[in-house]
Subunit: 360 residues, 2 copies
């Protein structure tokens, strides 16, 4: 069974197909290709597992298929790897009508999307996310980009794919740690705007961790639906979209301090979300029962919840570099009950320090 969701973005609207065995279903992507040339961008981990499943049916359909295989890992999400992509596209004389396909996790999706946004000032692209994190988060909403030595995702563009295929079979080969990291973002949607989904996750977490087909497909569908609704209302993150960054200001500080890739993004988000919950509790916006529920659901997903001991000053400094800063004041996404987040700079700065001190 394939579940399909439409991301409503006017003339940039696109469908997300979710289900089993989608990678080799060429019929799902053929309507979106403008000419008989595609470039598939993937990495050394994913290529041996899934590249031929995608490439061979396209070749059989008469397509010229260019394969660009990058090294794996968050550390490669930089301008050097981006230049490797540009070089390969130019050497193969890819044109404005060549479609670029991202086959891989969030790093491949962000890099490929950004390359597609900027090569010849923009060429069509397709996302085939192969990690849970990429399926529920980075493949929806058009954020693309690379890291800079001074900060994560500092360089990028908003650029929408033509279609997204979330093939749940790829999760079978995902390391447990990465599966958990993806579940962190799934839980996030429950926390910020969908209390019913949070309840459902409390009940179904063990089936999700075991990759039960129906549960997994539904969890991805409902996560994408939540994200798509937020993005449709605020494509360029001038308002509500920032809710999706629950835990992320803390998480970016953790990732930056520890070195990109040491903590997985979802792991840092889980720990960051607990810090946001702690501050929310200090503000009187969450009860201790809420905190226990949040802690329990993250724990059931095998997520590490102890943020690293960086010291208050380092946290504040690294959090200040974040894109969510307005006029020098750190805005945060906090919670007022489960299923209801808010973006605010109207919190007690001393309580933020207490939250950060409580780590050490």
């Amino acid at each position: 069974m394939i579940q399909t969701l439409q991301v409503a973005l006017g003339d940039r609207a696109y469908p997300i197909h979710i289900g089993s065995g989608l990678i080799s279903q060429t019929n799902l992507i053929l309507p979106h290709l403008k000419r008989k040339q595609v470039a598939i961008i993937t990495n050394t981990t994913v290529a041996p597992l899934y590249l031929e499943n995608l490439a061979q049916p396209l070749r059989d359909a008469g397509f010229s298929v260019i394969e660009i295989i990058l090294p794996d890992g968050e550390a490669c999400k930089n301008s050097e790897t981006l230049n490797q992509i540009y070089d390969a596209l130019l050497e193969n004389r890819c044109e404005r009508s060549t479609t670029i396909i991202a086959l891989g996790g969030g790093v491949i999706g962000d890099l490929t999307g950004y390359a597609a946004a900027t090569y010849l000032r923009g060429v069509p692209f397709i996302q085939i996310p192969t990690t849970l994190l990429a399926q529920v988060d980075s493949s929806v909403g058009g954020k693309t980009g690379i890291n800079h030595p001074l900060g994560k995702n500092m360089i990028g563009a908003f650029y929408q794919p033509k279609v997204v295929l979330a093939d749940i079979d790829t999760l079978q080969t995902l390391p447990q740690r990465e599966l958990s990291a993806g579940v962190a973002e799934v839980i996030k949607y429950g926390l910020i705007r969908d209390a019913d989904f949070f309840d459902w996750l409390e009940i179904n977490m063990s089936k999700l961790m075991a990759l039960d087909e129906a549960v997994t497909t539904y969890a991805i569908y409902r996560s994408c639906k939540n994200k798509a609704e937020v993005v449709a209302a605020d494509e360029h993150e001038v308002g509500e979209r920032a809710l999706l960054n629950l835990g992320h200001t803390f998480a970016h500080a953790i990732e930056n301090a520890m070195g990109y890739g040491v903590w997985l993004h979802g792991e840092a988000v889980a720990a960051g979300t607990m810090l946001a919950a702690d501050l929310s509790q200090r503000m009187g916006w969450l009860t201790s029962a809420d905190i226990q529920r949040i802690y329990a659901v993250f724990t059931a997903a095998n997520l590490p919840l102890d943020a690293p001991k960086l010291g208050v000053e380092k946290y504040l400094d690294l959090m200040g570099l974040d894109k969510k800063v307005i006029d020098g004041k750190i805005r945060l996404v906090l919670q007022q009950g489960i299923g209801n987040a808010l973006i605010t700079s109207d919190y007690d700065a001393d309580k933020l320090k207490q939250t950060l001190e409580a780590i050490a």
Copy 2:
């Protein structure tokens, strides 16, 4: 007198102000600034001439002004210089609401616009073009980008400014050769879609070359008006906008072969336009009288019209790398009479070779 033109692009519409003494008229840009921080990007040639005229009134109005001064020249329109901009913006903690101002010629405008399009996934920017070429061409229409060792403008984005100030006083310090290069693009508008303007230019060319205030303001206004109409109808160059590339496929081959910056862009466009005219005449679409008029008006603007002798094969190879290629066939902008250009791959390939052979 200030002439103002509105570029009609829906929610990305913006005004172009043209006239004398605009750089220090802070009132023209204040309505477009979101917060009291701006970053001015300029180069070592323009900075001593005009940077303080712009920066001082902004500081007097209470703004924090970051100055980023780059080396000068087309050779700097690359990823290294772009990284210099990112570094400076990050080191100064520029935020999403910081406005970036481009003060300089086409290279500064393209680099700055691209940095603005991609820094934090997009921040507001303002164009203050200081060369005639930038005033009539690169500051209108939102094309931004950088060169790649394998081709010019291969990496970029469509990104619109909030406002453009074309201050004609800056043309007083422009080298004669660069003034001529700008006039090449002015003539282009007459050739592709405005026969009346071509007639006007034949009559007024000596006043334009002498920078008569009224003639210069009008020539810039009418050029921008032509370009704005084309861009409004086809922002992302899927059709008519490609008319603006008259002479450019030849010109890019010339610039690429000679090394970026050896021929000025406008000089290469003038020589390329004569090649396009030659092919158009061979196709029976221009008369020899037309050719003489075109030749005469370029000559009155002191433009070099003899394309370099690269050989037919090299021309064809370099032209094939151009973005205007569709399915491997070189599309060209050719003319059917003065004031009427067309985009076509429906020309005789042998006649194209004859045109290129006639150079050597």
